[in-house]
C-alpha cells in the first residue's frame, strides 16, 4: 500500500499536520517514535497555549492532540524512524526492518535537548545529570541542584525543582537571561533559587554519581568547585535532522526551508522545530503543522491532475 503522506514526528507539528491531512481524507501514517509527544512530554503546566485559561499539563495536551489525530483515522507506528529514501518515488520510510511507502512526507522530528558536552556529563546522565526536572525532580528531595541555562525552559526547570530541592542554583553564562519577563520574575522572587550569572560549568565530578562541579567565572576566568547533587541542563535544543540523507540543512543543522514548508526535495515537506530556529513554541509548531498539511494536500491534488 502507498500512503498519501507519512509524517515523521509526533509533537505539536506532526500531530496537527495529521489532524489536517486525515480530515482532508488523505491516507496518513505517523511515525511517532518510542518517546512520542515531543518536548512537551517533559514539561508540566503549559500556560501559553491558547484555549486553556488555567493552563494544561504538557503531556495531557499531547495526549489530547494524539487522540484527535487518531479519531480522524491517522495510523501510528510507535517506533523510532531509522531511514528515509527520498531518491525515488514513492518515497520509502524505514522503521527498523519494516518499511512504508508514501507519495509525500512531512518531516516534523522537532528538536532534542542539547547537552553541555563537558567532561563527566554523558556518563552521569541518569546519575545526577538530567534534562527533565518534572521527570527526575523527586529524586532530589532535600538536595542541592544546579540548573544551567537562561531561557524559559531553564526558568521552568528551576521553579519545578524548588518543590523538591533545598536550594537551586541557576547558572547562566551570560550577564542576563533571555527568558520571558514573567518567568524571570518568578525565578527572582523565589527564595530557594540562587542566581549565578556570567558563569559556566566546565566539568562534572563524582564517582558513581554527581558530587561536585567546576564552575568558571567568565569575567575573571577563575575556576571554583562547588559540591552539588544534581545538574539539570536546559541550554536549548538541537534539531533532529541529521538522519535525513539528501535534505539540505543550514549551518546550525535546521532543515533549510523554501517558501515556508518545502525542502529541497519535491514532495518532502517540513514543519515545526526541526526547521524553526526562531519561535520554537508549541503553538507555532502546531501552526506550521497545519499550513504544511494544507500545502501537502494542494501538492497531491496538483500531482494527480
Amino acid at each position: 500500500m502507498i500512503y498519501d503522506v507519512i509524517i515523521i514526528g509526533s509533537g505539536p507539528a506532526g500531530l496537527t499536520a495529521a489532524i489536517y491531512t486525515t480530515r482532508a481524507d488523505l491516507k496518513t501514517l505517523l511515525i511517532s517514535g518510542v518517546k512520542w509527544g515531543g518536548q512537551l512530554m517533559l514539561t508540566t503546566l503549559v500556560e501559553n497555549f491558547p484555549g486553556f485559561p488555567d493552563g494544561i499539563q504538557g503531556p495531557d495536551l499531547m495526549a489530547n492532540m494524539r487522540k484527535q489525530a487518531e479519531k480522524f483515522g491517522t495510523e501510528f507506528v510507535n517506533d523510532n524512524f531509522t531511514a528515509a529514501d527520498f531518491s525515488k518515488k514513492p518515497f520509502k520510510i524505514s522503521v527498523g526492518d519494516k518499511s512504508y511507502e508514501s507519495k509525500s512526507v512531512i518531516i516534523a522530528t522537532g528538536a532534542d535537548n542539547k547537552w553541555l558536552d563537558i567532561p563527566g556529563e554523558r556518563e552521569k546522565i541518569g546519575r545526577g545529570v538530567s534534562s527533565c526536572a518534572p521527570c527526575d525532580g523527586a529524586f532530589f528531595r532535600n538536595k542541592n541542584v544546579i540548573v544551567v541555562g537562561g531561557g524559559d525552559s531553564a526558568m521552568e526547570e528551576a521553579l519545578v525543582l524548588t518543590k523538591f530541592a533545598t536550594m537551586v542554583t541557576l547558572v547562566h553564562r551570560r550577564g542576563s537571561f533571555k527568558a520571558s519577563e514573567i518567568m524571570q520574575k518568578r525565578v527572582k522572587e523565589n527564595p530557594k533559587i540562587k542566581i549565578m550569572l556570567n558563569s559556566e560549568l566546565t566539568e562534572i565530578l563524582g564517582e558513581q554519581k554527581v558530587e561536585k562541579v567546576k564552575i568558571k567565572d567568565n569575567q575573571t576566568g577563575k575556576i571554583s568547585e562547588m559540591p552539588i547533587d544534581g545538574v539539570f541542563v536546559a541550554v536549548g535544543h538541537m534539531p533532529n535532522s541529521s538522519m535525513f540523507t539528501g535534505i539540505d540543512l543550514d549551518e546550525a543543522g535546521f532543515v533549510k526551508v523554501h517558501d515556508h514548508y518545502l525542502t529541497n526535495v519535491d514532495g518532502v515537506f517540513v514543519a515545526g522545530d526541526v526547521h524553526d530556529n526562531q519561535y520554537k513554541q508549541a503553538i507555532t509548531a502546531a501552526g506550521y503543522g497545519c499550513s504544511t498539511a494544507l500545502e501537502v494536500q494542494k501538492w497531491l491534488e496538483d500531482q494527480s491532475s
Binding site: V34, N80, G126, R127, G128, S130, P134, C135, D136, A138
Partner: protein, 107 residues
Amino acid sequence: MADLNLTDQDFEAQVLKSDTPVLVDFWAEWCHPCRIVGPIIEELAGEYAGKLKVGKVDVDKNQVANNYGIMSIPSVLLFKNGKVVATLVGAQSKDSYKKEIDTVLGN
C-alpha cells in the same frame, strides 16, 4: 508477569534470590515517560515468560531504588544471580530492551 509489584519487603526474595534473571522496571505514577515504557515491559513479560521474571517497583512507595543509585525514571535494571548486569535509563525502544535481555539470557 509485569503485574508483579515488587516492594522493599519482597525485593530480596523475588529479585536477588531468583533462579531466573529478573527485569525490574522502576517507575512512578507522575512519570510520563514511564507510561510509555509500561506497555512495552508488559509485552516483554509475555514474550519471555518462563525465561525471565519481570516486575516493577513504584519508587514513591519503596526505597529499594536508592540501593541502585537510581536518580532518573524510567530505569530498567536486569538482575542475574542477585547482581545488576544491565541498566537502561529513560524510555527506550522495545528492541533495545530485547537486545539487553538476549545478552543476559545468553541467546
